[in-house]
Symmetry: C3
Subunit: 183 residues, 3 copies
Amino acid sequence: MTEQRTHHITLVTGGCRSGKSRYALQQAAAGKRPVFVATAEARDSEMKVRIARHRLERDPAFTTVEAPYDLAGDLRALPPDTDVALVDCLTVWMSNLLCRPETTDASPPEVEALLAILHDPPCDIILVANEVGMGIVPDNALARRFRDEAGFLNQSIAALADTVVFVVSGIPTVIKPQPTGSA
Amino acid sequence: MTEQRTHHITLVTGGCRSGKSRYALQQAAAGKRPVFVATAEARDSEMKVRIARHRLERDPAFTTVEAPYDLAGDLRALPPDTDVALVDCLTVWMSNLLCRPETTDASPPEVEALLAILHDPPCDIILVANEVGMGIVPDNALARRFRDEAGFLNQSIAALADTVVFVVSGIPTVIKPQPTGSA
Amino acid sequence: MTEQRTHHITLVTGGCRSGKSRYALQQAAAGKRPVFVATAEARDSEMKVRIARHRLERDPAFTTVEAPYDLAGDLRALPPDTDVALVDCLTVWMSNLLCRPETTDASPPEVEALLAILHDPPCDIILVANEVGMGIVPDNALARRFRDEAGFLNQSIAALADTVVFVVSGIPTVIKPQPTGSA
């Protein structure tokens, strides 16, 4: 199902605090001009602390771009010499999209736009996502919708990706392509 | 530990919206006379929407049977020419069993009956289950009990199954039998 | 990254009711003088039931030691002829540490002490942990902090461990070291 394209797409997924961002940063740091595409908005003090900590952990070689909503547009606008962009993370991005006052029941149009640009991206792209569907069904409807949309997005990106890595307790396992010899 | 039996048992497990049902449907669609064994009851409008969407996604070759409680009995009553039955899903079934007014602290008797029939099932069986134990401990006691029983059921079925597949972000990984060369 | 040391460290991780303790017990039961290091405190009746059930499931060869807080100290104080200690589990231990009235925002000092002793442990150590970060973001701040600290602890232990096993539906998969032939 993976298409012929010039650049490589990697999805790194796992739970909260699984080490997925750290792993993705190590992969992206191999680039000469890596860009960190941050989807989080510093809306409260807890988020500010997380964002600040992530910034400190990051190799200074990274340029940072903020992309809380129009991720496709922001990827298209990257400096032309960018060789790898690390999007961290898709799940926070989905949360931004669904928490807007104008949100409808339809899938946010920005998702379609992202999938379109990933068919022929301007550089290598590493996307980080959270697995959020392995707990108990949440009580409130918005959380259930978020869980659905985040899961569907992960599936769409994984289907497009050349490489999918599942990180558990800091240990990465490549689940696509499957290792030779496995069923 | 896997027994000698005529038919193949597969467990497909993963988080909510992980693509596990889609994967299981693809596997079952290889059958000539596949039956979809639906455990969900359309008790509210949200469930009705989910059920309707799943029906639309399904290959028309599938006959549908509803089995919200007596799953073993409903499997025994399948048309004799059924070659593969897809049970979707065990976790909703467990929720049905535990949410009955007559529920006691004991494991529901229907579980024992299911395990019994799976020792020598009438056709190939593919069972879909949810992983629900990788979040925070839930606040309420019923949710904790559900999480326990769903987990124990998954373990029992996986122990019986010939094949167990763990689906993450739409990507299936066979975890039983283990790929050759792994520890 | 794994250091040269005399004894083997194994991390067994997975969801609640995934069969991780059972798997760890089987591994530890191969020892001649296995010690079960219990971190849970029987603070309420539900916990008492869980603890009692686990005790019943355990091979009588195990000696039991309780280590709800000073895990490093309790490991150092094991009988000198202990060949394998099974710590069950790290996540309950973290919960004990964070729920003390004197808890601050800093990582509990007992964590540093545990990591220190694991650099050269007195016997083989098998540690059981829970994956708690694959559900929806919890509403309350303490649960989020717990999720963070439990995740960081799992990463630290996995980085030190010789072997890391991820258990899903009772099926163990070795994720460290990676099977030969995988990417």
